[in-house]
């Protein structure tokens, strides 16, 4: 675990709090996931099972107000890194023809917590928001079959989408915020400058990404560069 990595986790947490989107703060350093969670990640049949274990055991560095959460783990600096985003599979529930979140019904006192739990346990839930994970593992690297850095998109994905960069937690977080929370991105980040619509989040993201260096040639070979990849 490096100080640089931990600093980036702290930066992410601070950013989420300043933006007003944080619900719960976990460790502000590289996360050690519980053995329960690791087991669930290996064995579960559905995404919601994995999510539930993470949420129940506080296996995250940061949870957002929509109950999605982030895990940031660095085992060896620039060699073994795992950054993951787990969206909330219970985002919306159909209730009396209204698309009203059970959460806000609870907050408004419309239902008690007991009833809220009941509603959740009966609800028709949507699980179709894909989980996204960035892995860096130089140990397992194979130029033909196993890119050193890659994205996993979706649950139980054997797919590895090659990446030619060592992503920091903050860069990963910003990318996820842009992709999964576009409204927050636009509303909280947007500002007007000389009549033009600018976005401060965009600027922070670009700045951060420029600090995330490319992989060493040993870990991303020329042949890989000729294939489809993220840079």
């Amino acid at each position: 675990m490096s100080a640089i990595f931990d600093r980036s986790v702290r930066k992410t947490v601070d950013f989420a709090y300043e933006t007003g989107i944080a619900l719960q703060c976990g460790p502000i350093s590289s996360l050690k996931a519980s053995s329960d969670f690791k087991k669930a990640a290996r064995q579960s049949n559905s995404y919601s099972q994995v999510y539930d274990v993470g949420a129940k055991n506080q296996d995250f560095n940061l949870m957002l107000k929509d109950h999605s959460f982030f895990q940031f783990t660095e085992t060896v600096e620039r060699k073994d890194v795992r950054l993951a985003y787990y969206p909330n599979p219970y985002s919306f529930i159909e209730y009396q023809d209204d698309r009203q979140t059970a959460d806000s019904m609870l907050a408004s006192g419309d239902i008690t917590l007991q009833e809220f739990e009941q509603l959740i346990s009966e609800g028709n839930l949507t699980f179709d928001i894909p989980i996204i994970r960035y892995d860096l593992s130089t140990e397992q690297y194979c130029s033909k079959y196993h890119p050193a850095a890659h994205f996993h998109i979706g649950f139980r994905a054997e797919n590895r989408w090659p990446v030619n960069r060592v992503l920091s937690p903050f860069a990963f977080f910003m990318k996820v915020l842009f992709l999964y929370h576009p409204i927050i991105w636009q509303e909280k980040g947007g500002y007007e400058k000389e009549g033009e619509l600018e976005n401060s989040f965009e600027e922070a993201y670009i700045r951060e990404l420029s600090l995330c260096s490319l992989l060493e040639d040993d870990n991303f070979q020329e042949t890989e560069g000729r294939r489809l990849h993220f840079r």
Partner: protein, 705 residues
């Protein structure tokens, strides 16, 4: 002589004869202060066969004496069984340092004998034999050590081991870091020792099994859940083939219940219970969670009524509605034993469902045990008499009549038990929780116990004479009923601290500083619980607190992060963050009750008072209460007055009918207030800020500028 009957005594057999003899001649046999067990303990051998004891006597002058009745045709088997039981008990007591004199000898003499009235030939039995009822006296006299009876310490330890209490007291892994007895850590170590040794009444209730319905009453913290869990395990030991249901209301209790059942069972059986035979089920359940209601629907080919439908039919009590619908149908009898925890929170119609699910023709045949909190039920919406719980038969007679059924019981057994002692909270904290819960030091009490008997049931003594409306009453809780000795180390002001803050940030800092200080004194993060009394702002509190704690390297377990299944209440090395509702049934050594100002608007309402009561009674030792401004001060004044008067409650006896009228009025008002809340919620959703909504409301009252 105390008798603990753990299984049915055949009415006309030898066992009955011996028990009757022992009871009638207790004085002559020097058994006045002895404990006599029947059908207890039960063990399992290496082949997983159940090995049951017949009669076990624990006496100060005789030590431990095992008696096994037998008939000639079965003598060898019984002899072997007796030796098995002997060696199980022997090895259990040998594990106690206190009971061991040295490697071979014990401080407690331990003997066993076979009782058989038929003529015996040969003498190749392992155990001694007694051949007549009068022979028991000769046998006991030989064992008697009048001159050196067992001291309290040895006697209590032997009793605790036999009854399996060691299985329930979690070994404390705390290690002293200083010799100062007043540090939080050392106080906690003492506290945990005390709690594990105090539970004779609880164990007795758990072990005693009767046929037919049984009610267990007791305050929060008197150990009802654990007693029921022990009972479930014990029934499973006695009757491995019987089907048992354990049901409850608070989803988060599931783990605790399962773990307690399992631990108690393992202590005697050495392995896991057969979960095929024990259903631990939430009362309601859902598509993803098994529950009594859900499973009963499915197993009787009925479709469960969805929550939305239930809510629209009975907005105040949807669960009652669906149970009533289910109860109209004839349900298959499924369970030999049904144990119901938190009965005060469950509707009567649910009891009627359980009645149907229990095996047996008549009410007196149905083994239903329910535990409920006297105090929480007083002004509850549900009526709590057994007649009302289970309803009446076609002739108009109550299906369950505890008084009538009691006639069927013998050997001093009871179907209506009270746990008087409260082990969870220090006396001063409990008395204050009662004072604030009733609103005794408020302008007018919000709720009240009906009469003197009721106060005595919950462990108080009325000192001021008859309770007549308009007169001054003084009611005192004795140390005996709140036996923790923490008061010897900690003053009232150590136990309870109050903090009025000017902002939420200031309040959160006070809490996180308090947590850091407690950790420095040796507490673990999971010994600490933060309860937000303010439901609307709970998320904000926890979000802020979790961040500050994380900055100090302290992790927290926010129970609001998990939205599906019930999260574990404690996680190792994390501070628990919970709402009042989620905290029900759980406890911690140091409790912060934050945001008390939010209760101000419900200060004259039972729901608000009950919330304070529940929050305050979560603590095993220290309570910290905080909130903003005058609204918090309103309650601080009550708490301070109560601490001053503790262990007594001093107040003017209110007119109960008057309270009832006011409360009914408030109940109808509260649904209007809920509507208002709902509208405020909607306005927020539409993007109005709090200030804007506030402004509109002020305008509506003509206070705007």
């Amino acid at each position: 002589m105390e008798k603990i009957i753990a299984t049915e005594v055949p009415p006309h057999g030898l066992d009955n004869e011996i028990l009757t003899y022992l009871t009638a001649n207790a004085n002559e046999l020097k058994l006045d202060d002895a404990v006599v067990y029947y059908g207890f303990p039960v063990f399992k051998d290496y082949e997983h066969e159940t090995i049951k004891s017949k009669i076990l006597i624990l006496s100060r002058v005789h030590g431990l004496v095992l008696l096994q009745t037998s008939v000639k045709s079965n003598l060898e088997v019984d002899d072997e069984n007796l030796s098995q039981v002997f060696s199980f008990i022997d090895s259990a007591i040998r594990k106690s340092k206190l009971l061991r004199k040295n490697k071979k000898e014990l401080h407690v003499q331990f003997e066993s004998a076979i009782f058989c009235t038929e003529q015996l030939d040969g003498d190749d039995l392992e155990n001694e034999t007694i051949t007549s009822i009068n022979g028991i006296q000769t046998y006991l006299d030989e064992l008697s050590h009048d001159e050196s009876p067992l001291g309290d310490e040895i006697f209590d330890e032997a009793r605790a081991i036999i009854e399996g209490s060691k299985a329930l007291s979690k070994p404390s892994r705390r290690i002293k870091i200083s010799d100062d007895p007043s540090t939080k850590l050392n106080i906690l170590i003492e506290l945990e020792k005390e709690v594990s040794n105090f539970d004779i009444d609880q164990r007795k209730i758990a072990i005693s099994l009767i046929n037919g319905p049984q009610r267990i009453r007791g305050l929060a913290g008197s150990g009802k859940t654990v007693v029921l869990a022990m009972k479930a395990a014990h029934i499973h030991l006695q009757h491995p083939d019987k089907k048992i249901l354990f049901t409850f209301y608070t989803k988060s209790l599931y783990e605790l219940i399962k773990e307690s059942v399992s631990r108690f069972y393992r202590h005697f059986a050495g392995d896991e219970p057969n979960w095929e035979k024990i259903d631990i089920l939430h009362a309601w359940g859902g598509r993803k969670i098994d529950g009594v209601y859900y499973n009963a629907c499915i197993e009787n080919s009925l479709s469960p009524i969805a929550f939305q439908v239930a809510k629209s039919n009975n907005p105040n009590d949807p669960f009652s509605f669906i149970c009533a619908k289910l109860e109209e149908r004839t349900l298959k009898q499924k369970y030999d034993y049904i144990l119901i925890d938190e009965a005060q929170d469950l509707p009567n119609d649910f009891f009627k469902v359980c009645y149907q699910l229990a095996k047996g023709e008549l009410g007196s045949d149905k083994n239903i045990v329910w535990a409920y909190d006297d105090l929480q039920s007083i002004f509850n919406v549900y009526q709590r008499t057994p007649e009302e719980l289970f309803g009446s038969d076609s002739d108009g007679n109550p299906k369950v009549d505890l008084r009538k059924f009691k006639a069927n019981l013998s050997y001093g057994q009871s179907n209506d038990l009270v746990l008087y002692k409260c082990y969870r909270n220090p006396l001063e904290v409990l008395v204050t929780a009662h004072a604030v819960g009733f609103g005794l030091y408020a302008d007018k009490p919000v709720q009240m116990l009906e009469n003197q008997e009721h106060w005595e049931d919950v462990g108080y003594t009325v000192e001021s004479g008859e309770l007549v409306a308009g007169t001054q009453a003084k009611i005192t809780r004795s140390r005996e009923n709140s036996p923790l000795s923490i008061y010897q180390q900690q003053s009232k002001s150590d136990l309870v601290k109050l903090y009025g803050a000017a902002s939420i940030d200031e309040e959160c800092s006070w809490i996180t500083d308090g947590i850091s200080a407690a950790l420095a004194e040796g507490l673990k993060p999971h010994d600490i619980l933060v309860i937000s009394l303010d439901d609307l702002n709970a998320r904000t509190y926890f979000s802020k607190i979790s961040r500050t704690l994380a900055q100090h390297g302290i992790r927290s377990n926010n129970l609001l992060t998990s939205i599906s299944a019930a999260p574990p209440f404690t996680l190792d090395d994390m501070v628990t963050l919970s709402t009042v509702h989620r905290a029900k049934g759980n406890e911690a050594s140091l409790v912060f009750a934050a945001g008390i100002d939010a209760i101000y608007q419900y200060k004259n309402h039972r729901s608000g008072r009950n919330k304070l009561f529940t929050a305050f009674t979560r603590t095993k030792a220290w309570l910290r209460v905080s909130g903003w401004g005058d609204k918090a001060n309103y309650f601080f004044r009550e708490i301070e007055e109560s601490l001053l008067n503790a262990p007594s409650l001093i107040f003017e006896v209110p007119n109960i009918e008057e309270i009832e009228t006011i409360q009914r009025d408030l109940d109808s008002k509260s649904s209007e207030i809920y509507k208002l809340h709902q509208m405020v919620g909607e306005l927020r959703d539409q993007g109005f800020s709090e200030e804007e909504i506030q402004l509109e409301l002020n305008l509506a009252f003509g206070k705007g500028e």
